[in-house]
C-alpha cells in the first residue's frame, strides 16, 4: 500500500524495508532459486515464440473486449449464469454485496482474486455485516494481519513461520509450533470448517472463455474447488481483460503462466466451470452462479495506443520475481495493490496518480522484467511513460526541466561540462576521483566516489587519434555518449586501438550529443525526442555501415528507444529505423563482424571477471560476444555469480535512490571479489562509473575497466 506523502517519505519507508533482515534474506534466496526454477521449466521450450503468440492473442482480445463480453454473456446465461458488468470498483462491490443480501448469505469463503484486492471487496462486504474468509493460505494469513499482499502469487512471502505461528496461536486460542507442515494442517482444519459453514463463495477467474461462457481458475491449493462447490451461491469476479475467445488461448497461456510464476509445469488444479452446476446445498440443487466483470478503466486502456499492452498481463508475478528493487524492498513498497513492474503501471490506472507518483520513479530500468514477462509487455518503457504522464499532468520539477533544456542544446551542454572541469579542480584527486562531492550532491551520494571530468574530452582528442586507413574494409562511426566523451575518453581510444590490423575506417561525427536516455528516465519525453532527432541527423552525414557504441545503455537506447520514441512520426520513424539498423555494441563488432582471432593477442592475460550490463545482455540481447571476446583475447575469464544482475547505477536512479543503488553495488562487488579476479570488466561506462566509485570507497584491490581497454592492451604489439 502506498501512503507516502512525497518522495522523501517514500524513501524513508524504503529504508525500513532495507533494515528488515528476514525480508532481505527471503527475497535474496527467492530471486536466485526462481531464476534456476524458471530456466529449468522452460528448457526445451521456445519461450520467446510462445510469449509472442500470447501477446498477439491478448492484443487481439483487447481490441474486441466488448464483443467478447457479449458472447460470453450469451453463452453463460444460456447455461444459467447471471452476468454483470461493473464500470468501477464501487459498482462491482455494490453488485456483489447485493447478490449476498438478496440470497440471504451471511458467511462468505473466498479464493484468491487480485481483482477483488483491486476493488477492496472484503472491506465493503464486511461493512455490510458479512463474514468473509480468505481460503488461500497466504491470503488468509494477510487477511488475519489486516495487510495487503506483497506478491501476486505468494502474498505472504514477507512473513516468517514464527509470525505465522503467533498469528495461528491467536486464531485457535492454542499455542502453535513453528513447524511449517503443521501450520499448514492447522490452516487446513480451521478453513475446512469455514467452507462447511459458508453460503456464498467468491472466486476470481484466470480465463473467461467467450465461446462457451466458461471460467477457468488456476490454483495449487485446490481451495477454489471447495469455494465453488460447497456454498450455494458462487460469484466470480474478473477484469474484462480476462475475456478470451477460445479454450486454445487459455491453454496457450497455461503453457507459460505456471512456469513463469513458480517454475511449475502446471499448477495442481485448473478448474473449468461452465454454467450453474449441481449444488446439493441449493433448494433446486443448482448453484446460483454470477460472473461480475470489472471495467475500472480497462475499456479506456484498450483504446490507448501506448498502454493497451498492459491488458496482456496474466498476473504471474514474474516481473517482481526478477526485479532487483523488489528484491531489496519487497512488495509493500514496490506496489500499491498490484506488485512489481506491472504494479507500478496498474497503480496509476486503477488507484490513481497519488498512489503512483513515487512508485513509478522506483524503476532502475534494468529490463529484467521485460525479459521474462509472460505476455511480452515492455514494462520499463511503460513505467517511464507513466512517469512522464504524471509530470505532464502535475508540472515538471525544475531539475528535470533544466536537464531537458540542457540536453537538447548540445553546445550549451558541452560548454557546461567543460566549465565543470575547471570548477572541479580544487577537489580533484590525482587518482581521477573527486575528493569530496560538490555541494549540489547530497551526502548520501557518498557510497561511491564520483569521477572527475577528464582533462581533454574525446572529441578534442579525436584529430590526433583518428586512424589513417588507406583501403578500408569496414567503415564505422563511433557514438561516444557523454560519459565516454567527457569522463572516460580512454575507453574510446582503446576501442579504436583494438581495431588495429583490420582496416577499419573510423568516423566521429562531431554533432552527436547525449543519447537522451537520462531525459527519458526523468520523464522529459519531449527533450528525449529532440535529442534523438539531433543524433540521427548527425550520423546521417556519415557513410558508415556500422555505428559502434561501447556504452551499452546508449546503444540499447539508440537501437530500440529511438524507434519507440519516434513511432508514428512519418518523417522520423523511418530515419530512426535506418539508424537503429546500424547500431552495434563493441563486443559484437569485435566478435561477430571483425571476427578477431586468438593469434592476434598475447596468450598470458590476467584473471578477469565480468559484469553484464543490463542494457547489453537484455537491452540488446548480447550475451556470448563479450565472453567470447575475453577468451579470444587471451584473458583468463572467471564467471561471476549473478553476472546479469544490475550493478545499481541506473543513471539518474542512483541519484534519486542512493540507499538502493548502494545495496546493489555492494552485492555486485562482493560477488566480483569472490571470483578472485584481478579485474572486473564490463561494457558500459555508466556501470564502470558506479563500480569504480564503489571499489574506491571499499578500498578494494579490484580494478574495473571497459572490456575494450583490456582487449586493446592484450593486442600483440
Amino acid at each position: 500500500m502506498q501512503n507516502a506523502k512525497d518522495l522523501k517519505d517514500y524513501r524513508s519507508e524504503l529504508r525500513e524495508s532495507l533494515d528488515n533482515e528476514f525480508l532481505r534474506k527471503t527475497l535474496d534466496t527467492f530471486a536466485v532459486s526462481y531464476r534456476a526454477g524458471r530456466a529449468n521449466a522452460f528448457k526445451d521450450v521456445d519461450v520467446k515464440a510462445l510469449i509472442k503468440e500470447i501477446a498477439d492473442g491478448k492484443d487481439e482480445a483487447g481490441q474486441h473486449m466488448d464483443e467478447l463480453f457479449q458472447e460470453f454473456k450469451k453463452n453463460a446465461e444460456a447455461a444459467g449464469v447471471h452476468v454483470h458488468l461493473a464500470k468501477d470498483a464501487d459498482e462491482a462491490n455494490r453488485i456483489i454485496g447485493e447478490i449476498a443480501q438478496k440470497a440471504d448469505c451471511k458467511k462468505i469463503v473466498k479464493s484468491k482474486s487480485m481483482t477483488a484486492e483491486e476493488t477492496l471487496l472484503n472491506h465493503h462486504l464486511e461493512d455490510l455485516g458479512l463474514e468473509v474468509t480468505e481460503t488461500d493460505l497466504g491470503e488468509w494469513i494477510i487477511q488475519l494481519r489486516h495487510e495487503g499482499p506483497t506478491h501476486m502469487v505468494m502474498p505472504a512471502i514477507h512473513l516468517s513461520r514464527f509470525q505465522v505461528a503467533d498469528l495461528f496461536g491467536d486464531v485457535t486460542g492454542k499455542e502453535q509450533e513453528t513447524d511449517i507442515e503443521k501450520l499448514v494442517k492447522v490452516a487446513r482444519r480451521e478453513l475446512r470448517r469455514k467452507y462447511a459453514e459458508a453460503d456464498m463463495g467468491i472466486s476470481g477467474a484466470n480465463f473467461c472463455l467467450a465461446e462457451s461462457g466458461t471460467i477457468g481458475i488456476v490454483t495449487n491449493e485446490g481451495n477454489a474447488r471447495l469455494v465453488t462447490t460447497l456454498p450455494r451461491v458462487h460469484v466470480a469476479l474478473a477484469g474484462l481483460d480476462k475475456l478470451t475467445p477460445t479454450l486454445h488461448d487459455a491453454l496457450r497461456v497455461l503453457k507459460v503462466l505456471p512456469k513463469n510464476a513458480t517454475g511449475q509445469a502446471l499448477t495442481s488444479y485448473v478448474t473449468w466451470i461452465t454454467g450453474a452446476n449441481q449444488c446439493l446445498a441449493a433448494q433446486d440443487e443448482r448453484k446460483e452462479m454470477h460472473v461480475v466483470f470489472l471495467d475500472n478503466g480497462r475499456t479506456a486502456l484498450a483504446k490507448d495506443p501506448i498502454f493497451k499492452e498492459v491488458l496482456r498481463c496474466v498476473r504471474c508475478g514474474a516481473c517482481a520475481n526478477v526485479c532487483p528493487v523488489y528484491r531489496l524492498v519487497g512488495g509493500h513498497k514496490m506496489g500499491h495493490i498490484y506488485i512489481g513492474a506491472i504494479g507500478l503501471i496498474l497503480t496509476y490506472f486503477f488507484h490513481g496518480r497519488d498512489k503512483a507518483r513515487n512508485l513509478v520513479q522506483n524503476c532502475i530500468n534494468c529490463g529484467a522484467c521485460a525479459d521474462v514477462c509472460a505476455a511480452g509487455i515492455d514494462l520499463p518503457r511503460l513505467i517511464k511513460e507513466i512517469h512522464a504522464r504524471i509530470q505532464d499532468e502535475e508540472g515538471h520539477p525544475m531539475s528535470s526541466v533544466l536537464l531537458g533544456k540542457v540536453l537538447t542544446n548540445r553546445k550549451l551542454f558541452h560548454r557546461l561540462l567543460k566549465t565543470a572541469r575547471w570548477a572541479q579542480a580544487p577537489v580533484k584527486e590525482k587518482n581521477g576521483f573527486l575528493r569530496h562531492l560538490p555541494m549540489v550532491f547530497a551526502k548520501e551520494q557518498n557510497f561511491r566516489a564520483l569521477p572527475a571530468i577528464a582533462d581533454k574530452a574525446f572529441r578534442d582528442l579525436w584529430p590526433d587519434i583518428k586512424p589513417n586507413v588507406a583501403a578500408p574494409k569496414y567503415k564505422v562511426a563511433l557514438f561516444s555518449g557523454c560519459v565516454q566523451d567527457f569522463v572516460y575518453p580512454d575507453q574510446l581510444t582503446a576501442t579504436v586501438r583494438s581495431f588495429d590490423g583490420h582496416d577499419v575506417a573510423v568516423d566521429f561525427p562531431m554533432e552527436q550529443s547525449c543519447c537522451g536516455l537520462p531525459a527519458q528516465m526523468m520523464g522529459e519525453l519531449k527533450a528525449a525526442r529532440d535529442v534523438a532527432r539531433q543524433n540521427i541527423r548527425a550520423f546521417e552525414q556519415s557513410d558508415a555501415r556500422y555505428v559502434i557504441c561501447s556504452c551499452a545503455s546508449c546503444a540499447s537506447h539508440l537501437k530500440h528507444g529511438y524507434v519507440k520514441l519516434l513511432q508514428g512520426d512519418h518523417v522520423w520513424e523511418p530515419r530512426a529505423k535506418a539508424f537503429a539498423e546500424k547500431i552495434i555494441d563493441y563486443s559484437s563488432f569485435m566478435s561477430d563482424v571483425l571476427q578477431v582471432q586468438p593469434n592476434e593477442f598475447q596468450d598470458k592475460g590476467s584473471k578477469v571477471t565480468y559484469h553484464a550490463p543490463c542494457h547489453l545482455c537484455r537491452g540488446l540481447n548480447v550475451k556470448d560476444a563479450p565472453r567470447d571476446l575475453m577468451r579470444t583475447a587471451g584473458l583468463d575469464y572467471e564467471p561471476c555469480n549473478e553476472e546479469e544482475v544490475c550493478c545499481g547505477f541506473g543513471g539518474t536512479f542512483s541519484m534519486k535512490f542512493p540507499e538502493l543503488s548502494s545495496e546493489l553495488l555492494n552485492k555486485k562487488l562482493s560477488d566480483a571479489e569472490a571470483t578472485g579476479a584481478e579485474e572486473l570488466l564490463t561494457d558500459c561506462p555508466g556501470c564502470i562509473m558506479q563500480l569504480r566509485g564503489g571499489v574506491e570507497r571499499r578500498g578494494s584491490s579490484l580494478k574495473v575497466r571497459h572490456i575494450a581497454e583490456a582487449v586493446a592492451e592484450q593486442r600483440k604489439k
Binding site: T26, M154, R189, N277
Partner: protein, 205 residues
Amino acid sequence: MSDHIELFKEKAKLVSAQVTEVASMDEAYQFVVDLCDKKEACQLMMSGCAEAVSDPAQELCDTKQRKVVAAPNLEEADFEKLAALCKAQDFDCIRQGMRQHLGGIDIGFTVCQGGIAETGTLMLESNDEEVRLATMVAEHHVAVLPKSLIKADSYDLEQELGERLGNGPSYTALITGPSRTADIERVLALGVHGPLELHILLLEA
C-alpha cells in the same frame, strides 16, 4: 504411445504423484483397500491432527470416526465390487452424501477421462458435486487413468476438453499432483486443502 506413458509417469512423479500400473479394475480396487488398510486412520495425525486447533474446527474433525472410502463415479456394478472388498475390511464405502463427511475421508477413488503426458495431468469430469468433494476432502486421492486416454500435450486434449466446456453446465478438473502450497516461507507443503497424496493407477486399456 508408449512414449507418452513413460513421459506421463516421469512428469507425474515430478509433482509428487505416485504412479502404479494395474492390469484390471479389480487390481485397482485391491490397491484401494490395501492402501486404506495401511494408512493411519487419520493421516493428519502425522502432520497436524495432533496440533491444537480451535474448538469448532476440532468438532468438525471429530465427526470422522471410521475409515471411509468414497467412489462417486463408479457404475453400480463396479461400486458393488469395491464395496464388498471394503466391507470385508470393515471400511465404509460410499457413493454419495459427501457433505456429511467434510471432516475428511480416507480415500477418494475416481476414474479419469483423460491425461496429459507433458505435465502428468489428469482430466476428471466433476459435474457431480460428489466427485468434487470426494477428491478434495479425501486424504488420499486414487485415480484410475486408462493408458489409451493419455495425450501428448494439452493441445491434443483441447477438442475433448472443449466439448465438455461447450456442453454446460459442466465442471471439469485438470489435476496435476496433490494439493500444495508454498505460502509460508516458500516451503513446499502437500495437502493444504485437498489430498495429501495422489495415487495414479495406469490401467491397461
